[in-house]
Symmetry: C2
Subunit: 231 residues, 2 copies
DNA sequence: GCTCTTGTTGTACGACTGTATAGCAGCGCA
DNA sequence: TGCGCTGCTATACAGTCGTACAACAAGAGC
């Protein structure tokens, strides 16, 4: 009888183990939503004892914050890369950005539920707030970059970049949420078409509140907003 | 020494007690978010023993569904009533609808967290799904009604009502979420201005994917979308 | 004033939570 | 081959959770 000593567990370098735990956390969130966030469930998903989580992360909320950052950055990178493919013009890149945003993988209800858990922790957990601020800034920066390139195109009026990016981000988020909650509300292509319409309207100068006034009429006490003077 | 018999508790008709429990549930959700959903916390908030909840509701998720419906209907009614005030024209009513949607009471982060809890339960709980479907239908119907009146105005092209309402709903939701998560992103007035811009663009026919073609060119293999045939 | 209905309480139950800690054991290194 | 570092397991702990159930008592009707 040989010494068939099957090891009870296998050691892993901390970096790899942390990554595996993050992956298991995301998997649990997808499967069980908010109820997936328990050391025992995540440990089981990773094939590891529950106590190991507190060995690699100071607390479970730190693990969730790490998972939030990993998923957010991964999605942003994926969408941005899809948009940058094929050296087309700025307008084309935006369209590809929209298409990537409403790809089947992004419209997964499980992903939506995961995101809801992250969002619900932002106001209570400072770590989650930090991750949200940085990843959202990165997302908005990606939009600002694309919109900025668009501004160089002939015939496109100057507009305020950051508010435009925020508005576009809101439109994308809103459509994504509606499609995720009620998948039969509309098709992904409809969402892309709506974003396209919005972009065309922006290029046509149809959004006065986003337009950049060339010479801001410095008059105080305006009721609405100084009307854009740009041609 | 008189018989000062202070009763340990006071009875209430079931309807009133249910309403009080629903109110307590909303209060707990606002205060503690997802962690507020416990029979003990809600019972304490209502000044009542935890067991009473299971006496008036078959389970705690039924109570949450009732709270979801109560809050959603209340908000819809409030916004719609604010829009209908003062018999102005359709365009003015829409503006008032936007202003009501971004009033300080609606931009409360606590309200946002409450809503996140509701949303996160939709995919798992059938009762929540039912409430969501009906209340969202009511909300969209309110938008369709306002947009429908707008269509009667001179110079406004015919557009597909339901998709337009869905798109507007997405825009409103997206802006509301961004403002709720990151209150410093933009002012309520900015959100209203963006909605106003969107509406003006719609009236100007700047959203082709929403426009209603009068005589659909029945040609197959269209790239974008077969134009709606409805009159 | 008494009875009866039933709204309400209090407790018990099993399952679950996150964290702390003591000790086991994989595996590189001498 | 065996020592030693440390990743890892296992257990204990004090909570919390939702639900069930028996007993209590408020308050209306007689």
């Amino acid at each position: 009888m040989a010494r068939e000593h099957t090891p009870k567990f296998r050691r892993a370098p901390p970096a790899l183990r942390r990554e595996a735990l993050i992956e298991a956390t995301l998997s649990c969130l997808r499967k069980y939503g908010h109820d997936g966030l328990s050391v025992r469930r995540i440990g089981a998903e990773a094939g590891v004892s529950p106590g190991l989580i507190n060995h690699h992360f100071p607390s479970i909320s730190a693990l969730v914050a790490a998972a939030y950052e990993a998923l957010a950055l991964s999605l942003i990178r994926s969408i941005r890369q899809h948009a940058r493919e094929a050296g087309a013009g700025p307008r084309e890149r935006l369209r590809r950005f929209y298409e990537a945003s409403f790809a089947p993988a992004l419209l997964d209800p499980a992903l939506f539920n995961t995101w809801l858990v992250f969002w619900s922790m932002i106001s209570h957990d400072t770590g989650m707030r930090t991750v949200h601020d940085s990843t959202y800034a990165a997302y908005r920066a990606a939009l600002e970059s694309l919109l900025g390139e668009l501004q160089g195109t002939a015939g496109v009026p100057r507009f305020r970049l950051r508010p435009a990016a925020i508005a576009l981000s809101a439109l994308l988020d809103g459509l994504w949420i509606e499609a995720s909650i009620n998948s039969r509300a509309f098709e992904p292509a409809d969402a892309v078409a709506l974003c396209e319409d919005w972009t065309n309207a922006l290029c046509a100068g149809a959004f006065p509140s986003l337009l950049l006034a060339r010479r801001p009429p410095r008059r105080a006490g305006r009721k609405r907003r100084p009307p854009a003077t740009t041609a």
